[in-house]
Amino acid sequence: MIFALNPSNGQPLYLQLMQQIRHAIDTGVLQAGEILPGVRTLAQQLVISPNTVVKAYSELEHEGLLELRHGSGAYVSQRRARKSRADTMRQAQERVRALVEKLQREGLQEDEIQRLVEAELYYPSAANSKR
């Protein structure tokens, strides 16, 4: 893993490290189940205090992004951070809006869109029935 920390940009190093790990997980550079470098290894690589790495890993564990397995190391969580319900709703709403706009652009009417959505919800198509 390649991280770049800036000691003089006004942000504690552990926060910078956390951000970069989070970013790596979000973008898929770090995948679920993958192991992160050990505390000592990463500290030496970045030439920072091991306490900084410990703090970053520990905070990310609190957020649910990492799993610290005793004697083994820090792993990216299988379950992603439990987003708050509000976050989930907000993201869903945006996706729905985007889909609706797209279908409208293709010429479908509102009641047609509504019927399609209901059908999918209550009568899932055969291909998706095995969810």
């Binding site: 000691p7 552990y14 500290a43 030439v47 920072i48 306490n51 900084t52």
Partner: protein
């Protein structure tokens, strides 16, 4: 600090005649951290370290190291079994060979690690059969480092460890310090290399003229310390700028500048209400902080 400090002093003072090298020092160094000890030449760093190790007696005041009082020779000796030290001089016995010095030092410590010794010997490329008097300064420093790092000590004290080392060797030194810290060793090192301290230290203590003028974590400096520069388009209002500042408040014509240690936003708010034309905040580097508390003379000390 919830756990016991690894070093603690109470009004520690050292006088040489009329000169106070260390003046009422109240130091608290936490366990399991890397603490940088910064100060100008002659600020009292070496004197403090020598008092902690029983090499010099305190004129007054007290202290503990690894929980034991430093003023008691027997107790201090007991704590030294778990302390690794690299002195400012970094000299070892000129008449011995590298191998002999290592064997000599090894015989005193139970926490010696032969594997670490072997690794460091290889990394530092020290010639085992050469006499210490025939070593270059850089090699002598590396030997002194090896003698301190080939152990699992509880506390590692280094007095200007990077002096006389080239940049590559300094990197090796920092790597070794980090490895020791990852191992659970508390590291306390004095240095002039502010950039190195800034990268690697968890906590920094700044000493000036024998007194502690700053004791703060690097996280706090980055997150909370801010240089606030205020400009007025009219005459500067005759107010006292007060707040949690470190170092002196500088004024220059219609500008005022200070380093706030917390609540920079609140200060900015207040200043805006005073009708400032421009207010800028910027993070404070360790170098800037050091110069602010040391150059400006005796002023607000933050501990």
């Amino acid at each position: 600090m919830t756990t016991n400090p690894v070093i603690e002093t109470c009004d520690l003072t050292k006088q040489f005649g009329k000169f106070e090298a260390v003046s009422g020092l109240n130091l608290r160094v936490g366990t399991g951290r890397i603490t940088g000890f910064l100060g100008r030449n002659g600020a009292g760093k070496s004197s403090t370290i020598r008092m902690l190790l029983g090499i010099t007696r305190a004129s007054s005041g007290s202290g503990t190291i690894l929980g034991r009082p430093i003023n008691n020779p027997a107790e201090n000796c007991a704590s030294r079994r778990h302390i690794a030290y690299v002195a400012e001089d970094k000299q070892t016995y000129a008449y011995m060979t590298v191998a002999q010095v290592i064997a000599f030092t090894r015989s005193f410590y139970d926490d010696w690690d032969l594997e670490l010794e072997r690794q460091l010997l290889q990394q530092f490329e020290l010639p085992l059969q050469r006499k210490v008097k025939a070593l270059s300064k850089g090699m002598r420093t590396k030997l002194a480092l090896l003698l301190a790092l080939s152990r699992h000590s509880r506390l590692l004290i280094l007095d200007e460890p990077s002096e006389g080392l080239d940049p590559v060797s300094i990197e090796e030194l920092l790597q070794a310090l980090i490895a020791a810290a990852a191992d659970g060793t508390s590291v306390f090192f004095s240095s002039h290399q502010i950039a190195e301290v800034e990268r690697v230290a968890d906590q920094v203590c700044i000493i000036d003229r024998g007194k502690l003028v700053a004791d703060t974590s690097l996280d706090q400096i980055r997150q909370e310390f801010r240089r606030i520069t205020i400009g007025f388009s009219t005459e500067r209002p005759p107010v006292e700028f007060t707040g949690d500042f470190i170092g002196a408040v500088r004024t220059d014509g219609r500008q005022v500048s200070m380093v706030a240690t917390r609540n920079a936003e609140a200060i900015v708010e207040r200043v805006h209400r005073l009708g400032a034309a421009s207010v800028e905040t910027a993070p404070v580097s360790l170098r800037e902080l050091f110069l602010a508390v040391v150059k400006e003379g005796p002023s607000d000390a933050l501990v």
